[in-house]
């Protein structure tokens, strides 16, 4: 089963920030695998280095210690194509929605029919077709996130990295948008790593949760999530009988420093 296959393996990753006042160790000895098609949530206290870890996986930072091993199913060695979603949607107000979602293609000189067809299909599927000539400010919070997702998916990444992508939304919108976006990513058959400090969000979205400790961050626990879902509403996961148990486990991990 492809699902069990580790496409990436992080081995003893370490990273420090340097300033004239000294060295701040952000990550220490982080190791875990990323399976194909899997949704991983990384939780941990704020400022523990979650974003640093994501930047390393994305290739924006080079780890000071350790390696990332690529292990493609077909045996090739190329790094999986990464799609990165930041905390805010960062749609450009001086561009229309359409020119925002095609930004990645434009930057990679891939404005070909083949790629634009993908964008076209996503716009229709995600209900943004009618808003293509609008400005981002005319969209609702949820639609902006969908537009940002199309911008990311247009480059057809294999691995999606989400850095607290819903933290700018109000609570109610956040429940719907996070469930919505993750459903769309699952439907697209992508692998995903999401950073969040919201334990409920992690439990309801992820297959596996990696708990990091405070600085310097080490992997404190890994929890596989199996929920009995009544339906596929955004609240279903939160109403699952196992939810509270997972929440308590994670809460213990987060609050007991050792």
């Amino acid at each position: 089963m492809a699902y069990m296959h580790n496409i990436l393996e992080l081995k003893n990753i370490g990273y420090s920030y340097h300033s004239l006042h000294g060295e701040t160790k952000a990550l220490k000895d982080i190791s875990f695998g990323v399976r194909e098609g899997e949704f991983i949530a990384i939780v941990g206290p704020s400022g523990c280095g979650k974003s640093t870890l994501l930047s390393i996986i994305a290739g924006l930072l080079t780890p000071e210690e350790g390696t990332i091993i690529v292990n493609n199913p077909d045996g090739s060695l190329h790094y999986p194509k990464i799609g990165y979603m930041l905390q805010r949607d960062h749609l450009f107000e001086w561009r229309t929605v359409y020119r925002n979602v095609t930004l990645g293609l434009e930057l990679n000189h891939k404005m070909t029919k083949e790629h634009l067809d993908v964008v076209e299909r996503l716009l229709t599927d995600y209900g943004l077709d009618k808003f293509r000539d609008k400005r981002p400010s005319e969209l609702s919070g949820g639609m902006k996130q969908r537009a940002a997702l199309i911008r990311t998916l247009a480059l057809e990444p294999q691995l999606l990295l989400l850095d607290e992508p819903f933290s700018a939304l109000d609570y109610q919108t956040r429940l719907f948008v996070s469930a919505d976006i993750c459903r769309l990513i699952r439907a697209a058959g992508k692998t995903m790593i999401i950073i969040t400090h919201d334990l409920s969000e992690a439990i309801s979205l992820a297959d596996r949760i990696i708990v990091l400790s405070g600085r310097p961050a080490v992997v404190k626990n890994e929890v596989s999530v199996n929920l009995t879902l009544a339906d596929d509403s955004p609240l279903a996961a939160r109403n699952a009988p196992e939810f509270q148990q997972y929440f308590n486990t994670l809460w213990e991990d987060m609050t007991h420093e050792n």
């Binding site: 994305a58 924006l60 990464i82 799609g83 990165y84 930041l86 905390q87 805010r88 960062h90 450009f92 107000e93 001086w94 930004l103 990645g104 434009e106 930057l107 990679n108 400005r135 400010s137 911008r151 480059l155």
Partner: protein, 271 residues
């Protein structure tokens, strides 16, 4: 017949009405102030409270302006000053855009240049004008350089500051999508700085006018600055005051035209 009641205004209509009334009120006060000033000026001259030889008067200004138009080619003086100002303004825009772009590309360069820019910006540029005359002679070249010298350093600093204020995460976004530093500049930094570019331009056109007049005081045989100096030397204060009033009108027109351009650009980009 006025039997029908006036229709009740909704809160929205009432708000719009109040808003309009407020604007009319401001505009009327502005006009009234201007007319009162002109009347007071004219009356105090007529009643000999002040000497018209030194202080001129609105009617004398109008007469002087018409005479200058007829016998002294006022229009060409205005034209020269306008041309010199616009030309140095455009050069300032071009140069400061270029330099601030370079500074943005190289953090090291901007760190090296910072103290120089700050010192040059706070230097009174009129102190440089005599040097320009020696180096470049008397003529249009000197005046345009004088015009540029007043605006350029401040303009570089504002542009560069504007570039730096662009959200760093938006630049990261460009990198995560596989863009280069060049992409970051042209897709994010430059379009994101348009409001600052516009507001700096608004200030710069006024500064260019200041510089051009300083230049014309010292090194010209044409232009409003020359007319002012000439008028003061031959004690024709009507000519001096008329030129100053024309300068006021030019400054107003510059400001208004940039405002119109700003409005057009903002409308185009729906900012």
């Amino acid at each position: 017949m006025k039997t029908e009641h006036k229709k009740e205004l909704t809160k929205q209509e009432e708000f719009v009405k109040m808003h309009r009334r407020h604007h009319h009120e401001i505009a009327s006060w502005r006009t009234l102030l201007f007319v009162l000033f002109l009347m007071l000026w004219e009356v105090s001259v007529r009643l000999k409270w002040i000497d018209s030889f030194f202080f001129s008067s609105p009617s004398r200004v109008v007469r002087c302006f018409v005479e200058q138009l007829k016998y002294n080619s006022m229009l060409s003086h205005i034209g020269v000053t306008l041309f010199e100002t616009l030309f140095s303004f455009l050069l300032v825009l071009l140069f400061s855009l270029l330099v601030s772009t370079l500074l943005w590309y190289s953090t090291k360069l901007s760190e090296i240049m910072e103290p120089y820019l700050v010192v040059l910006n706070s230097l009174p540029k009129s102190a440089l004008a005599p040097l320009f005359i020696v180096w470049l002679g008397t003529g249009t070249k000197t005046i345009i350089v004088a015009g540029m010298s007043v605006a350029i350093f401040g303009s570089i600093i504002s542009f560069y500051t504007g570039f730096q204020q662009v959200d760093a995460e938006k630049i990261t976004l460009v990198y995560t999508l596989g863009g280069s530093r060049r992409d970051a500049f042209f897709k994010v930094v430059l379009p994101g700085s348009v409001p600052i570019l516009l507001s700096t331009a608004k200030v710069n056109i006024g500064l260019a006018l200041v510089g051009v007049i300083i230049g014309e005081f010292l090194a010209a045989r044409k232009g409003l600055g020359y007319l002012i100096i000439y008028g003061s030397q031959v004690f024709q204060l009507d000519m001096v005051i008329t030129s100053i009033i024309v300068l006021c009108i030019i400054a107003l027109c510059f400001y208004k035209s940039i405002q119109v351009i700003e409005h057009q650009i903002k409308k185009k980009f729906k900012m």
